[in-house]
């Protein structure tokens, strides 16, 4: 096991195309988002805003809809009602008058290529080397020059402390290293926004720290992040906003100090009493 990476982030993960506005502008906007799987209503009218440069942590008991909510932001889940906007752009739909027309898959893929997503189970491409994992999307989704993408990928791998593992296959890495590669892969798109779906839940306890370190440094560098996690310590330290969800609704939202230390809602208190040591 290599030592946890010392990461310094200097450049914010700004996109060349558009890029986030000055810190404080609206990056993510969800309005009245509903989503059901068959008869099961997972999201029942969610409104959420995330400002550029902010870190938002979504907390909630399992089944509360936080992963689904995160996945609607890049249209991995189609919403049944309501809409999602990222950096002012409607995601997955085109508005014409009072109608929302679903975009073609090609359009949706293009929108996604500006939003990084990190999965709980890493989902690295097992048949590609670490470097190829990171290089793939910039080249094929954004049409960037391969040599430039390779150079950028090596830079990112160095940033997550894995410069020397570029030619390995993912299966030969530890879980923590795989997740760091996955983060580098998401960053390779120079995304406006990074989404994390329980990024440390599949890791052995001693490997959680190295991944959180990387995320903490991204946050310090001004990356806009929405994170679903059970790491209360991370939320307290890094989040600008903590959002508590239960049964498909946002129950409470505020600064970590407000939500974690002086929760107003009984359900938040009940949840926190279970997860806090």
């Amino acid at each position: 096991m290599s030592a946890p990476p010392r990461v310094t982030v200097t450049e914010p993960a700004a996109g060349p195309s558009g890029g986030p506005g000055p810190a404080g502008t609206l990056m993510v906007e969800l309005r009245g988002v509903h989503k059901a799987f068959g008869a099961l209503e997972v999201l029942r009218g969610v409104d959420l805003t995330v400002r550029a440069g902010e870190v938002t942590v979504l907390l909630g008991p399992s089944g509360s809809g936080k992963s689904t909510l995160l996945r609607t932001i890049n249209h991995l889940e189609k919403v049944d009602r309501g809409f999602v906007r990222v950096d002012g752009e409607l995601i997955g739909y085109r508005q014409a008058g009072q109608r929302l027309h679903e975009l073609s898959e090609r359009h949706i893929l293009r929108q996604r290529s500006h939003i990084g997503f990190v999965f709980q189970s890493f989902n690295l491409f097992g048949h590609l080397t670490v470097l190829d994992n990171v290089v793939e999307a910039p080249v094929s989704a954004q049409g960037r020059d391969r040599a430039e993408a390779v150079e950028h990928a090596r830079e990112l791998l160095a940033r997550v402390g894995l410069a020397d593992r570029a030619d390995e296959y993912p299966r030969r890495l530890s879980g923590g290293q795989q997740q760091r590669v996955a983060i580098a892969r998401a960053l390779a798109l120079r995304p406006k926004l990074l989404l994390f779906d329980e990024p440390t839940s599949a890791l052995d306890p001693e490997l959680v720290g190295e991944v959180l370190d990387v995320m903490r440094n991204l946050a310090l560098g001004g990356t806009t992040m929405v994170v679903v996690t059970h790491e209360i310590g991370f939320a307290r330290e890094v989040a600008d906003t903590v959002v508590f969800l239960d049964e498909g609704r946002i129950i409470e939202r505020g600064t970590p100090a407000q939500v974690l230390d002086q929760p107003r809602e009984a359900r938040t208190r009940a949840f926190l009493s279970k997860v806090l040591p």
Binding site: F119, G126, H127
Partner: protein, 333 residues
Amino acid sequence: MTISAHTAAAHAPPTTRTDSNDTAADPAERLTVVPARHPWRWVATAVVAVLTAMALHALVTNAAWDWGTVGQFLFAPSIVHAVGVTLRLTAFGIVLGFVLGTLLALMRLSPSPLLRGVSWTYIWIFRSVPLILQLLFWYNLALLYRAISFGIPFGPSFFAVGTMDLISPLTAAVLGLSLHQAAYAAEVVRSGFVSVDPGQMEAAAALGIPRLRQFRRIMLPQAMRTILPTAGNELIGLVKGTSVVYIMALSELFYQVQVIYTRNGRVIPLLLVAAIWYLALTTVMSIAQFYIERYYARGASRVLPPTPLQRLRASLRRAEAGLARQRRRRSTA
């Protein structure tokens, strides 16, 4: 590790000597591992060896096999040409079969019920009707449809071709073999697609990788690991399956040996010629399959399976190391 002479003497097994000058004073170094004996394995080996010898003896001594004739015809020009036809039929069958099979597999996984239904029906029919029957249908297509016209569906025709001119025996054979093969290939390919972790496609979608690229770069190479062993089976099955085409009087290997033995009456040696060729073809294909599978195993297994050459080198190295160890032991004793 440092062990004082005193403790070494106290704890060492009786066979080890404590010699303070000996560099191998470490008791573990001086112990020899003796593998367990397997007497029944030796008995079984002996029995099988005798049976093998008997079989070989029977092959060589029985004049009815007529090895002379086998040698005479093995590389006869007509036979070699027939092997070429067999190979061509196999190549067309497997390539067209898998191209069509991949389309059918994609159709079966499509959200459209019509595409799914058509694919299912195709597979159902072409797997259910015996190959020999299908071949005869294609061969006799002219009885069903006199001419085949190309044009707008249900509309005017641009030009028409007589079925007899279009469907030669070779076309009928290729058509029959590949359409039949496609039904099986569809299931092989589909099993490969289904075996890829859905998270892979989800990650590709989340990264915004274009659809076709997702399929070619992410899905297919990983599906290949599941597809290849079965596809290899299919290929070997098809090499031999082409022999069915003899009913259409196409000069592939099996038809050709029949032609020759009806003329000269040497049935057994000529069947043997065909058998040897089929054996040779499938052997080459099995070897190719090993290396192709190994190629697609990159990243999937932590260590690639060694090639036969690597295995040979490794066992030579092991033997050498064993000898060196023995020599060292003898010199220290």
